[in-house]
Symmetry: C2
């Protein structure tokens, strides 16, 4: 069991456009201050995500709920958006069988099908509600605040359908994952005796995948959550190191920041060479974007890197042309899977056709890894910095470690960029405008501001 | 039927950080030259994609094949990568029912399930091959060159399985989509009498979705291809206009380029507020990235914008914080769907809970559109340029128009960036390194170059 970052290709020693040796040396020297600042932040209790892997009570709550639910439900429908959906989706895609919902109940080992409603597209919710048997369906409603507009809209629709179909038994088909004390969902749970599982108050949405937000759906779907949390715990331990070179989370965060500051490479691509890990990139995009893209305290300047999701080898035929030759404003972080649980041999057919003959006798697991090495090497050769996160296996333990690595990296990067990685003030104005248009009683100020916006200009239209 | 771009929020008149009025006026004046250059390019025959909507022979070939295949197959497996997969995926997701593979045969109107193998992850191909009944499966192998390594590796595996299971009848379960004359797939098709459908030589992979690359799988899956091509034809007609303001493709391309040159906004987000249109963003990413991200002829500088896929309203809870407050280097292009075929009312429940009460009585179709308007308005208020592509419906006609719009925009942007939008030289080195590692006979030079690359530095590892 090992997760390792190889960052040879980030440094000027190996790559002409890499981070200068003196900048890296300075970052190592200056690391004590950053490390102390993160430790201080942790001391305030703000970094609750670091404690999740060792919170046995919380883990047991999800497991016990899942155990009690075994066999009762054929469909599990998750209502949530952003951090309440991206983590659960990534865990399920990475750790359960492909095409889960097309498998038989036996192939799913009795676990339910899984549907995520992470949008308010009417066609999607109509489709899902039209296909599930409500009497055999569990709805898991995830909102830290208990008041997220999209999730509450979905909940009302689901609740209406449940009330109509099941009457007084509606509540038995709901479980809320929310703040232990505050918010509408908690209030409803209390009043109606609906099951509710806590999100610790000091764990923000995008850092919540190892809380019940991710663990409860995972447990309901049969994912082995113990090694997932063990891998995360191991990485959290490694990320306590006060020496930069020994702290993987800090190394990732510092390298990306240095690439931005010294090389103007503020676009950070995450590119797993693995189908099951594909959705980890979408989860990372939220983590990195929402944590780091904001106004910097001293000068109110808009700062922060832009994460980009990519998928190897597939996107070698989509984005790699840009990564190789386009504006030199990116780093690429590859994720390599060491051993594939299944491999497939390429048969020696068409040996008289040169475009095919060289492939026979190789294996796909070998091919996908060769493609990754070739792409990393080609980028390096063209002066384009990149690193590789090596996972020995794409299993629970390594996924837990990867998640914790990127979460810790985000906190370090927040320190270096000089932003608060834990809030998201920029989404407030859009929320207020939404409330205004929906006629929410307390949105009067937003309504007045909305009225001041320029109207669509018929001349600026085609 | 109407597709309209509202670009009020791109211009400085409405948005403080928008494109200055004099820059827009200059672009209008200078448009004659760009328009003439594109027309000249078309005259050389290089822009074959513009002719696809009116190529009845080509359209009939896909339709006839699909008609003959009706009822014979329960599963359709597409082997392809990049432009050979992203277009077919986008068409299927946009125009067929959700969760297609979980529907019954009757619900699919007798059309096959659909699997896309667009990677060389061994677990994925093993999974698909383990689940389909080869005697009831059609494999569509798409490669313009007929030699794409990933697709050929998949083909060899599929071919081996077909030979073993079906012997001499293997060929009846294959159809190739490839160059009419050249390449390994065409040779094999000729020698073995395997069905093959042409990709016109002057249509490149990422511009090929309206050729049999997209049309053949769409026809096999029951998509109405006639209105799809009609919508594209209508947009191609509109995009012949020599006046910038009347040419939607040119307007999109020019605005994005101006934002890059004048505002340093070279990150171009495409954000459909629609689940079925979500995969259009991934298709656009390849189109924009691979066409425009490259070395500029005169000075060999790496130039070109970076496309970013986003999905509304979902990613308001992921990326919008960054779009609102992060480094001001982006434009956002929203896609709005005017009318949803199905809408869902939000019931008036929990009227005593303020966080929920305001939602009751609204509809989801209204909510998703209000959220888009709120986000666009909030971005505008904060000086962040954006535009909206309005589609009256998310149907075949409008999708065809949208595809053609973005393809034409790409050609105009290529002219303005001073790059050849139709090639992809940057991926060659990685391909050569792959050939070298796989031991392909003609990769000697690449093998020697590979040996010169720096080895992983044990000190640059954690």
């Amino acid at each position: 069991m090992a997760l390792r970052i190889d960052y040879t290709n980030m440094l000027a020693g190996a790559v002409s456009g890499g981070i200068p040796a003196d900048a890296w040396a300075a970052a190592e020297r200056d690391f004590a201050a950053t490390h102390a600042a993160v430790k201080k932040l942790q001391g305030t209790g703000a970094l609750g995500f670091l404690d999740l892997p060792r919170d046995k009570t919380l883990h047991d709550r999800s497991r016990d709920f899942a155990k009690a639910a075994r066999g009762k439900f054929d469909d599990l429908v998750l209502l949530g958006i952003g951090g309440s959906a991206l983590g659960p989706i990534a865990l399920h895609a990475a750790l359960n069988a492909r095409d889960w919902n097309t498998l038989t109940k036996k192939e799913r080992r009795g676990r339910p099908r899984f549907h995520v409603l992470d949008n308010v597209d009417p066609g999607t919710i109509a489709h899902v509600m039209g296909r599930v048997d409500l009497a055999r369906t569990l709805f898991i409603v995830i909102s830290k605040s208990g008041g997220t507009a999209e999730t509450m809209a979905q909940y009302l629709i689901v609740r209406g359908a449940l009330n109509e179909a099941l009457g007084a038994k509606a509540g038995e088909h709901l479980v809320f994952v929310t703040d232990p004390e505050k918010g509408a969902l908690r209030d409803i749970a209390r009043q109606e005796g609906i099951a509710a599982v806590d999100i610790p108050p000091n764990v923000g949405g995008r850092f919540s995948v190892l809380s019940p937000v991710g663990i409860l759906p995972a447990a309901l779907l049969g994912v082995r959550t113990t090694p997932l949390l063990a891998g995360a715990a191991d990485m959290a331990r490694r990320c306590r190191a006060a020496t930069l070179r020994e702290n993987p989370g800090a190394v990732f965060g510092v390298l990306q920041w240095l690439a931005d500051v010294h090389l103007h490479r503020g676009l950070h691509v995450l590119m797993p060479y693995s189908d099951p890990l594909r959705d980890v990139s979408d989860w990372f995009v939220q983590l990195w974007a929402e944590s780091l893209g904001k106004h910097r305290a001293p000068d109110d300047a808009g700062v922060g890197p832009t994460p980009i999701a990519s998928h190897g080898a597939t996107d070698q035929h989509s984005q790699v042309q840009l990564f190789m030759e386009g504006t030199p404003n990116k780093t690429v972080s590859f994720i390599q899977v060491g051993e594939h649980p299944v491999d497939v041999a390429i048969p020696k057919l068409h040996q008289d056709v040169p475009e095919l003959a060289y492939l026979g006798g190789h294996h796909l697991g070998e091919l996908i890894d060769i493609e990754r090495r070739a792409t990393a090497g080609a980028l390096a050769r063209r002066g384009r910095p990149n690193l590789t996160i090596h996972l020995e296996h794409a299993d629970e333990w390594h996924l837990g470690a990867l998640i914790m690595l990127l979460e810790v990296a985000t906190v370090y990067a927040g320190q270096l960029y000089g932003v608060n990685a834990l809030n998201q003030p920029g989404v407030e104005l859009g929320k207020q405008f939404t409330y205004a248009m929906l006629g929410r009683a307390d949105a009067g100020a937003a309504r007045r501001e909305w009225e001041t916006l320029p109207k669509p200009d018929p001349d600026a239209s085609v």
